[in-house]
């Protein structure tokens, strides 16, 4: 009985006819998460890591010769966000025929597995945008004002390190509407090329970066957002303080030859990670039509 889901000779483009020099890549989303959160190594001998959140004290005035007992203003309490390592994995089987005569080899399978794991981890980050308590809901499509309100939500909460540009993570439709708004505004500010950062890096970079909105933040384009009620849940986040994560150094791959089960090589890759919301105040969800 044949084993199901093995990558066989028929799965690849074989040389019955001449093959093109270039193969079209798979049409899958890119990965962007790692630049927009605080990443640390996996812990040792435990799968849980607490990301510390410092508390603060409150000062007050006191009249002359008055005594002041220890009170709540002087009680320092630290809290933490918790990351618990989860395992993402992909298992593939590559038939001996495919390895001998086909064009898909073990290295290719390994690379594709690593890309799949990266997308899975990336989506895990994107899915957390809907948990943010600051919510900007576009009347219909995304506008620059919506993004600026998101920025305001972050600054209102006294988020530290305001010298850093915020990360604005949007879907292609929102980016299109932002560009359209800039073009159609005709405002004097947008006649100045310095204000057109979002068009200067016109091509989308591999990390999703497409440019900056001066005074607001850097814009990144991706897909895979959570949706709710016909809206994509995108976000503007502080790249240091909104989310945190623990990440293994690299995915691990096991390669095992299987004879009795069907003459194929099993490639099993796994990766441990977790991402958590570190400071709710350091991000705003941006909801606009999907």
């Amino acid at each position: 009985m044949p084993v199901a889901n093995i990558t066989e000779l028929a799965n690849s483009n074989t040389i019955g006819n001449a093959l093109s020099a270039v193969a079209s890549p798979a049409f899958v989303k890119g990965t962007i998460a790692m630049n927009h959160l605080t990443a640390e190594d996996l812990p040792v001998q435990t799968n849980v890591k607490k990301f510390r959140k410092n508390g603060s004290l409150t000062a007050a005035t006191l009249a002359e010769a008055e005594a002041q007992a220890v009170n709540a203003n002087g009680e320092l309490t630290d809290t933490a966000a918790t990351c618990t390592a989860a395992k993402a994995m992909v298992v593939s089987g590559l038939s001996v025929e495919e390895q001998k005569f086909g064009t898909i080899d073990l290295a290719r399978v390994g690379n594709e597995q690593f890309s799949a794991i990266a997308r899975f981890v990336d989506d895990d980050w994107l899915s957390q945008f809907s948990n943010l308590s600051n919510v900007v809901t576009s009347t219909s499509v995304m506008t620059i004002d919506d993004i600026m309100q998101g920025q305001l939500g972050i600054y209102n909460q006294k988020t530290p390190n305001q010298e850093m540009p915020l990360s604005i993570v949007l879907g292609p439709r929102a980016v299109y509407n932002i560009k359209k708004e800039i073009i159609q505004s005709g405002a004097a500010a947008f006649a100045n090329t310095a204000m057109l950062g979002i068009f200067n890096g016109a091509n989308v970079q591999p990390n999703g970066f497409i440019g900056s909105i001066t005074g607001v933040g850097d814009v990144y384009q991706t897909t895979g957002f959570a949706t709710t009620g016909g809206d994509d849940v995108q976000a503007i986040v502080h790249p240091m303080w909104a989310h945190c994560g623990i990440f293994d150094t690299a995915p691990v791959s096991w390669i095992t030859n299987r004879g009795a089960e069907g003459f194929y090589t099993e490639v099993a890759s796994y990766y441990f990670w977790d991402i958590a919301e570190w400071n709710d105040e350091a991000g705003s969800a941006l909801r606009s039509d999907t």
């Binding site: 989860a86 895990d124 809907s130 308590s133 809901t137 576009s138 009347t139 309100q149 709710t228 009620g229």
Partner: protein, 175 residues
């Protein structure tokens, strides 16, 4: 989705059509009008999910925010071991309203049934069943709070009525 039904006019045609629909029926009782509005025309996801009502700050333009409620959908299709995140959301004040599409070991879709077997460890308990147990227990716990909240709203209305009557009596007496 435009949630500003009171403060700003809904100008999105899609929104007008959505608001004309019936609210999605959730397992938990919903008493917040804003949440009921958001549940109108809400489409159930195809993946395994837990739906929450979460307090939030809505930006309402001109740099102003108002406290309100938003719907949060937690996707648990590919990662069922999210009890930690579930509790994190409840600590933030989120209230589970509904859950659905959890895959089962006898799922009609063989891929999903296989997924359950893959995730069922030595304990023999599917992590989706475990999550469902946690959500159900929270739903029961919240139900009591909702009933109290509902009662409080009713009492507040009665109190306001009595106050208005008293004010009217005082006015009549002063004449």
């Amino acid at each position: 989705m435009n949630t500003e039904t009171e403060n700003t006019p809904v100008i999105n045609k899609r929104e007008i059509a959505r608001l004309a629909k019936e609210p999605f029926k959730t397992m938990a009782r919903v008493i917040e009008n804003e949440t009921i509005d958001q549940l109108k025309g809400w489409i159930e996801p195809r993946f395994a999910y837990v739906l929450f009502e979460m307090p939030c700050n809505h930006a309402i333009g001109n740099g102003e925010f108002r406290r309100g409620f938003t719907l949060v959908t937690m996707n648990v299709e590919h990662r069922p071991e999210q009890v930690e995140r579930f509790y994190y959301l409840t600590r933030k004040g989120a209230r589970p309203l509904h859950y659905g599409n959890f895959p089962k070991s006898n799922d009609g879709n063989p891929e999903r049934a296989k997924k359950v077997r893959m995730h069922t460890g030595p304990s023999g308990v599917s992590p989706w069943d475990e999550l469902a147990r946690v959500v159900k227990s929270q739903l029961t716990k919240d139900d009591g709070n909702t009933a109290l909240k509902e009662k409080a709203v009713g009492l507040e209305a009665k109190l306001a009525e009595a106050r208005a009557e008293l004010a009217a009596m005082k006015k009549r007496e002063s004449k």
